[in-house]
């Protein structure tokens, strides 16, 4: 026996060594554990591998450090001449990129939220660790890279390794100071990819020759060389959208005959890698730095948006910036337009000493008589607006509320196209607007109210009174700012344009005793009842949405804002029925949930007291063609909109909730 061992000593040693290694290999390649318990290597194997790498890595590190030092000294010597300027440029670039990153992170978070809604989890690159390649496996059968970052640097198994050009691979083994990267060219690697153009998904692996390929793809003629390949994110390792490479060619899969393999030319230069990025954080975590960047980017975005809105407001007169600072000048306060974005053209501040050249005080050209003299202006008491010497319908002021010497002039002018109502809040105006009779006992404020003139709205009638007042109804406020005391516009009273009828009332400007009252139409009301404005109450029953003047504003707030719904001079004071006009309304935006399409443009049937007083002396009523409510959603206006104004006043048909004060008001009468 002794001679046997001595004789075959060498062979026995060889067999023992081989048997030991075969058993070791068999242990290592046994069926892997589940993923949560799986490790690339068992404890003993990992220890041996760690020893080997620990033996090899220091020389590699040393050689790498020497090479890098030599190159670095040379490069730094040359670059030091411009390093200061480069530093400044890079700092500026860094600041810009940080701001952009904040926005991108916000977009990514939004995408994550949306994906959570879709129950699809996608990973984003949030934090990377740069690493240097210090070695390879040294064999062409194993595409492994060694990097100089390990577990102490936050590197973990299965972390993706990328470069700015494209993906490189994933972490296979982690040691305290080094790690192994399994490159995508290795046959055992795998990455979910998608062809960018054809949207064909597949698994990327390296073939035996070390070229990555998308395996087992259904033949598709659309796959052409040069098509980009990106990660799909389906492997839960690589974030989605990273560049992988481009299609090189398509070859048949010999083992799976009908299928083909798409050979990929990697985007990253895998043969000459120096530095890579290990994606160490993917998920929803946002660092405080990123939060700060997000806040900065949000502030910058807000600033840009504000600036853009200002520019837009200047260029588009129909649009205004709701956040724009308001001027102190009361006459330019267009808050009653309350359109919450509804258009307010820019106007100059009111003149201290208005004259005939002052904006909004010049009478219309067609109301002027050549050679006639304009009415004198009483300085300090207001202006006479359109007190033209050629009245076509002059009403004694006895019918006026103040009972003064106010004269009322109703000028019958040719029919003009009604201005458009363009709500910008996306809501549709109330289906119908019914002007409710205004009370005579409207609260009036003798103070000088801000004169508000909406674009494309001109006074229909003017009443001269002892002062100048303007009925201004700011948006969403519950009180009218004021009306002149003499004219006592119904705007201050219960003149409420009840949403529902869509009736448009011409605007009335009452001037009595030097007082000019301009009933302005607030936002939210699409129309107002026709009235001559001869009476203080009842004329100009433009009730803003939600403000209700002095209490009877029943229009719901937030309804479509009115954009000069009143035709310019419309009818002379006369029959209320005849004064009913239709307003062409263009509704911008979709209908609100509970809103109806504008169906009718009916006369409210509630004759304004002022209109009654104007019947007799005024000219024959002019039948106006009512403008049409034209929604912008492409639909045709309902046929009911085209109906003729009803000759008789109709009872109020608005919902009770919108006509709270209606029953208490006598219809069309003054007390």
């Amino acid at each position: 026996m002794e001679s046997f061992f001595s004789r075959y000593k060498n062979a026995l040693v060889l067999i023992a060594v081989l048997l030991t290694q075969v058993i070791g290999v068999a242990i290592q390649v046994r069926r892997p554990l589940p993923k949560e318990h799986a490790q690339p290597d068992a404890g003993g194997v990992r220890l041996i591998r760690y020893w080997a790498i620990s033996l090899v890595s220091p020389p590699e590190r040393l050689v790498h450090w020497l090479g890098a030092s030599i190159i670095g000294v040379w490069d730094n010597y040359l670059d030091l001449m411009h390093v200061r300027q480069q530093n400044k440029d890079l700092q500026a670039e860094l600041q810009r990129l940080r701001i952009e990153e904040g926005g991108i992170v916000e977009d990514a978070r939004q995408g994550q939220r949306l994906q959570q809604l879709l129950a699809f989890k996608e990973k984003y690159v949030y934090q990377t660790t740069p690493a240097q390649i210090i070695g390879t496996s040294g064999t062409e059968q194993s595409r492994i890279l060694s990097i100089n970052k390990g577990s102490k640097d936050g590197v973990a198994v299965d972390m993706p390794v990328i470069t700015p050009d494209g993906i490189v691979g994933r972490i296979r083994e982690v040691f305290p100071h080094t790690s192994q990267v399994l490159v995508i060219t290795d046959p055992t690697s795998g990455a979910g990819v998608i062809l960018a153009d054809t949207r064909i998904r597949g698994v990327l692996r390296g073939n035996a020759l070390g070229q990555p390929q998308v395996e087992r793809v259904m033949p598709d003629e659309r796959i052409k060389a040069g098509e980009k390949v990106i990660t799909s994110g389906g492997d839960q390792i690589f974030p989605r959208g990273l560049a992988v490479g481009v299609v090189d060619r398509v070859v048949n899969d010999s083992e799976h005959d009908p299928l083909v393999d798409v050979l990929i030319r990697p985007a990253a230069n895998l043969s000459q890698l120096d530095e890579v990025l290990v994606v160490t954080n993917m998920g929803e975590e946002v660092t405080p730095k990123q939060k700060l960047d997000m806040m900065q980017s949000q502030a910058a975005a807000d600033t840009e948006q504000l600036r853009a809105s200002e520019v837009l407001a200047e260029r588009l007169p129909s649009r205004v910036d709701p956040d724009a600072p308001k001027t102190d000048d009361a006459s330019t306060d267009d808050s009653d337009v309350e359109g919450e974005g509804i258009a307010r053209p820019m106007r100059p501040p009111s003149a201290l000493h208005p004259d005939r050249f002052t904006p909004n005080t010049t009478p219309t050209a067609d109301s002027l008589t050549p050679g006639a003299r304009l009415a004198p202006q009483s300085e300090g008491k207001g202006s006479i607006t359109a007190s033209v010497p050629k009245p076509r319908a002059t009403v004694p002021t006895g019918s006026n509320a103040d009972g003064g010497d106010a004269t009322e002039t109703a000028v019958a002018v040719p029919k003009k196209k009604a201005p458009e109502v363009v709500p910008d809040d996306g809501s549709r105006p109330p289906a119908t607007m019914t002007a409710r009779p205004a009370t005579q006992s409207a609260t009036t404020t003798p103070t000088h109210a801000p004169m508000v003139t909406m674009p494309a709205t001109l006074p229909h009638t003017t009443t001269t009174a002892g002062g100048t007042g303007t009925s201004v109804r700011p948006a969403t406020t519950g009180s009218a700012t004021s009306v002149n005391g003499a004219a006592a516009h119904s705007a201050v009273g219960n003149g409420s344009a009840v949403p529902g009828t869509g009736t448009t009332q011409p605007r009335a400007t009452t001037s009595a005793g030097g007082v000019t009252t301009t009933a302005t139409r607030p936002a939210g009301t699409t129309s107002s009842t026709a009235s001559s404005g001869a009476s203080a109450s009842g004329a100009g029953t433009h009730t803003p949405a939600g403000n209700g003047a002095t209490g009877n504003g029943t229009s719901p707030a937030g309804t479509a804002a009115v954009r000069a719904a009143t035709p310019r001079p419309t009818t002379a004071a006369g029959d209320a029925a005849n004064s009913a006009v239709k307003t062409k309304v263009i509704v911008d935006g979709p209908l609100p949930a509970g809103a109806k399409k504008p169906a009718t443009a009916t006369n409210p049937g509630q004759t304004d007291p002022a209109t009654q007083t104007q019947r007799t002396p005024t000219t024959a009523p002019v039948q106006k063609k009512a403008p049409e409510l034209v929604p912008d959603d492409g639909s045709r206006p309902p046929p009911t909109m085209l109906q003729k104004p009803k000759p008789q006043p109709q009872p109020q048909q608005t919902p009770p909730a919108q006509t709270q004060a209606a029953p208490s008001q006598p219809q069309g009468g003054r007390r």
């Binding site: 060889l14 070791g24 290999v25 194997v45 090899v56 020389p59 070695g135 390879t136 194993s142 000459q272």
Partner: protein
């Protein structure tokens, strides 16, 4: 032919080497193989650990030492790859044993002998590796005769130069 066979006592004499050479040369081979391949990818067609194994085996002329040295170098080389430890170890253990066994019988001082041995061992190494990977591990491995022929030639050329350099480290006998 007579020059290829060890006919004298001097030919079969074991060449002494400093211990440090036995330690540093394999490590240097592994390090160079890993590092140079990083910058010159085609460098991986070389197998410096295999050449070192062959050299120490034929110079030591001890099959057991060759087997153990080949096994350790192979396992260290396996540690740098993704494959299980032992694949290269098995291959290089056999190569070390065969090289040491042949070193007893043939003249390994001749460059021609070294070249022929190296070419054959490189080819054998690739064959064993293919068997182990394809049959034992069931992993893909492309076999190309042309590629293996080129590999054998390149490794042979490098081996002749490398062995001559390593001969300089021999301990001089006076």
């Amino acid at each position: 032919m007579a020059r290829l066979i060890a006919a004298s006592r001097r030919d079969v004499e074991v060449q002494p080497y400093p211990l440090i050479v036995f330690i540093l040369v394999p490590l240097l081979a592994l390090g160079l193989q890993s590092f140079v391949s990083l910058h010159f990818q085609r460098f991986d067609i070389l197998d410096l650990p295999l050449l070192v194994t062959i050299y120490f085996a034929i110079t030591r002329r001890n099959p057991i030492a060759g087997t153990l040295a080949g096994g350790m170098i192979g396992i260290a080389q396996d540690a740098l790859t993704r494959q299980p430890l032992g694949i290269f170890g098995i291959c290089k253990s056999i190569i070390g044993y065969l090289a040491a066994s042949l070193g007893v019988r043939i003249d390994t001082e001749s460059h021609v002998t070294r070249a022929l041995l190296t070419f054959g061992f490189v080819f054998l190494h690739s064959g064993m590796y293919w068997v182990l990977v394809r049959r034992l591990l069931a992993q893909p491995y492309a076999w190309s005769w042309v590629h293996e022929l080129i590999r054998g030639v390149i490794n042979t050329v490098v081996a002749v130069v490398l062995f001559a350099l390593l001969d300089l480290a021999k301990r001089k006998e006076y």
